[in-house]
């Protein structure tokens, strides 16, 4: 039958190739794809290499000096004879500026992400996004320069008044809002409409006066503060928060966008305001994506080198008291950057290897945070797609 058709059509086999050619094609295809695979695996190979080479240079330090000094002592005298390599204060400093920047950037970043995804109309959003992208694009050394040359002298000369103004601008609206809400909640039980309103007004006045007093008191305390050095943990925390904001905003915005319209419409249909819809419905649904965003933002702050190197004061001690953000600190990244210049002349020494130990610490932390944030994102995607 096939033969018959073939004879009739007379053009048979135009797309049939010989077994040899087929084999050749297969080999070429496999070879090509393996090449591509090899190049695609390059990234994975690089990651393994980074771990290996940093670890290989870090391990000799622990062999030479053991673990306890590194993690428990805060005596950092690498150039001494014999050198001391207590990194506790440095780890603490890293933690401190990271925490500080997170406290500033997370609330602001999430608020900005909500604003971008749910509040601003599309036309405005188009202009808001480039602001965030530009903030992300500015090189870290430019931020460091700003922190060192402009911000630090400003803090040093006008620190107290600046703190006071920031306190007033940030705290006044929130305290007023709190007064309104508390007055409302307390009077909610009163049945009679008129007396409830009167009572609520009285309470509001009382609370407002109290809040104003509190504001003024804290403000005057802040104004009296004299900042001895502008290159301190506060300066660095503020600048780092600018730098991690873009990451937090864009990843959280993605998470918020991933929550579909149905959920929003469902909530509005029940009479919720926009704020209530977002806080009670959208944020819980997007929570894991937002947590991932926060982790990425924290990593950005922890891994940043230039700003902390230039503007943290590089003083290896735990501030006194421990939460004093107005003192100079030193971080892991800045120590690696700053000490390598002297240490790499003496490649074999503990002084060289201890910097790799710090690098390994950063690497391990970033690896696990990344793993966690990735897991969280995958889980959220699964939950949202209903699996």
């Amino acid at each position: 039958m096939n033969e018959e058709v073939r004879k009739e059509s007379g053009r048979s086999g135009a797309f049939i190739i010989s077994a040899r050619k087929r084999k050749f094609q297969k080999i070429a295809k496999t070879a090509g794809e393996s090449m591509l695979l090899l190049i695609a695996s390059f990234v994975a190979i690089v990651v393994l290499f980074i771990f290996y080479f940093v670890a290989v240079d870090a391990i000799p330090y622990f062999q030479l000096r053991g673990f306890s000094e590194f993690f428990t002592s805060s005596n950092w005298y690498p150039a001494g004879e014999p050198g001391e390599f207590g990194a506790l204060a440095i780890i603490y400093g890293s933690g401190m500026v990271t925490l500080g920047s997170t406290l500033l950037s997370v609330p602001m970043g999430i608020a900005a992400a909500i604003c971008l995804s749910d509040i601003l109309p599309f036309s405005v959003r188009q202009y808001a996004k480039p602001i965030i992208e530009m903030l992300a694009a500015i090189p870290s050394v430019a931020f460091g320069f700003f922190a060192l040359v402009i911000f630090a002298p400003l803090l040093q000369t006008h620190g107290g008044p600046i703190l006071m103004w920031v306190w007033w601008v940030l705290a006044a609206p929130f305290l007023l809002l709190a007064a309104i809400v508390i007055a409302d909640l307390i009077t909610a039980k009163i049945q009679d409409q008129n007396s409830r309103e009167r009572m609520s007004k009285v309470l509001l006045a009382v609370f407002s006066v109290g809040a104003l007093g509190f504001l003024y008191w804290v403000g005057s305390v802040l104004q009296g503060i004299e900042i001895l050095t502008g290159t301190n943990a506060l300066n660095v925390s503020i600048i780092l928060s600018f730098m991690s904001l873009p990451t937090i905003v864009s990843v959280s915005e993605d998470a918020l966008q991933a929550v579909g319209r149905d959920l929003r419409e469902g909530s509005y249909a029940l009479g919720a305001t926009r704020a209530e819809t977002i806080v009670k419905t959208i944020l819980p649904a997007a929570s894991s994506g937002i947590i991932a965003a926060v982790i990425l933002g924290v990593m950005r702050a922890l891994g940043e080198t230039m700003v902390v190197w230039m503007a943290s004061g590089n003083s290896s001690h735990i501030p006194d008291p421990w939460f004093n953000y107005l003192e100079a600190v030193r971080t892991l990244t800045a120590t690696i950057a700053g000490d390598m210049g002297e240490a790499d002349q003496v490649t074999g020494s503990a002084r060289y290897h201890v910097l790799f130990a710090m690098g390994l610490l950063l690497l391990v932390i970033s690896f696990f945070s990344n793993l966690v944030s990735e897991r969280i994102v995958v889980r959220q995607r699964k939950i949202l797609s209903g699996q």
């Binding site: 058709v5 009739e8 086999g13």
Partner: protein, 286 residues
């Protein structure tokens, strides 16, 4: 249940449901435009998406140089069947086939088939016009260049010939270097036809080519199909039964993956043998 060289075509349904039946084509049909030789032959041909059998054991001959329309409700497998003919379904990883689909007597899914050479012989035009974001000239010349033609003069000839065949030459001859995305939807679709013709295929597969077009552009495409009939074997999937009746010589009706009826178009629309076909063409379901 086999096709024969004299043009008898059988279609087979799931045997559990209905008995198979034979449809005999009127003998005069065979002689139009150079004889009705079978061009694409399906033998117990099934297509699966994973476990799901999307096209079920089709047995049919598509005759050379005729226009064959494929109709049926959405999701009946008609597009899947069409795309199987030039192996576009290969793009879907879970897709596989059983049975045999022969083109010029050779198995399209055979071990030694080169799908690239195959697709050169079997061109396809898609639902939505999909010109490349290149100039009109480069769009048409894309295929010939792929197959090793680089001479500018010859390419220009091919471009002109293809555009003329697709009845587009008069409209675009003065702006061949302009981006093809600047053409209207109907022009884009005819450009896609011209682009396919430029590689000189034997079969032209049209997958609902007018579904994204307005009535005027649709009419032009239909005219074009009339022009091309007799030179190419044309298979067209369409939702529009008027269109099928206007442009085709033969019509296949698919329902839930089964080729229910396959007959000369006039016969299928005026005197359907199957109750299901009748229900469909009279609009009782869609």
């Amino acid at each position: 249940m086999q096709m024969t060289a004299d043009g008898r075509i059988t279609s087979q349904k799931d045997t559990a449901k209905t008995a198979s039946r034979d449809i005999y084509l009127p003998s005069e049909r065979k002689t139009i435009a150079g004889g009705g030789t079978p061009h694409v032959v399906a033998k117990d041909f099934s297509i699966y998406y994973g476990e799901f059998e999307a096209v079920k054991k089709v047995n049919a001959d598509v005759l050379s140089k005729y226009v064959t329309a494929i109709i049926g409700p959405s999701g009946c497998g008609k597009s899947t069947y069409l795309r199987a003919i030039n192996r576009m379904n290969d793009l879907i990883p879970s897709c596989h086939t059983t049975g045999a689909l022969l083109f010029d007597g050779e198995d399209i899914y055979g071990k030694f088939t080169d799908e690239v050479l195959l697709r050169k012989k079997i061109g396809m035009v898609f639902q939505k016009p999909n010109p490349f974001p290149k100039s009109i000239f480069d769009n048409i010349a894309y295929g010939p260049r792929l197959h090793g033609m680089n001479d500018r003069k010859q390419l220009a000839e091919i471009v002109e010939r293809s555009l003329r065949k697709a009845a587009l030459w008069d409209e675009v001859s003065d702006r061949l270097d302009k981006n093809a995305l600047g053409l209207s939807g109907g022009q884009q679709q005819r450009l896609c036809v011209a682009r396919t013709l430029a590689v000189e295929p034997e079969i032209l597969l049209l997958d609902e080519p007018t579904s994204a077009l307005d009535p005027k552009a649709t009419a032009k495409i239909e005219d074009l199909i009339q022009e091309l009939r007799g030179s190419y074997t044309i298979m067209i999937v369409t939702h529009n039964m008027q269109q099928a009746s206007r442009v085709s010589d033969y019509t296949m009706f698919f329902y839930e993956g089964v080729l229910v009826e396959y007959a000369p178009t006039a016969q299928l629309f005026t005197n359907p043998k199957d109750r299901m076909t009748e229900d469909y063409i009279t609009g009782r379901f869609s």
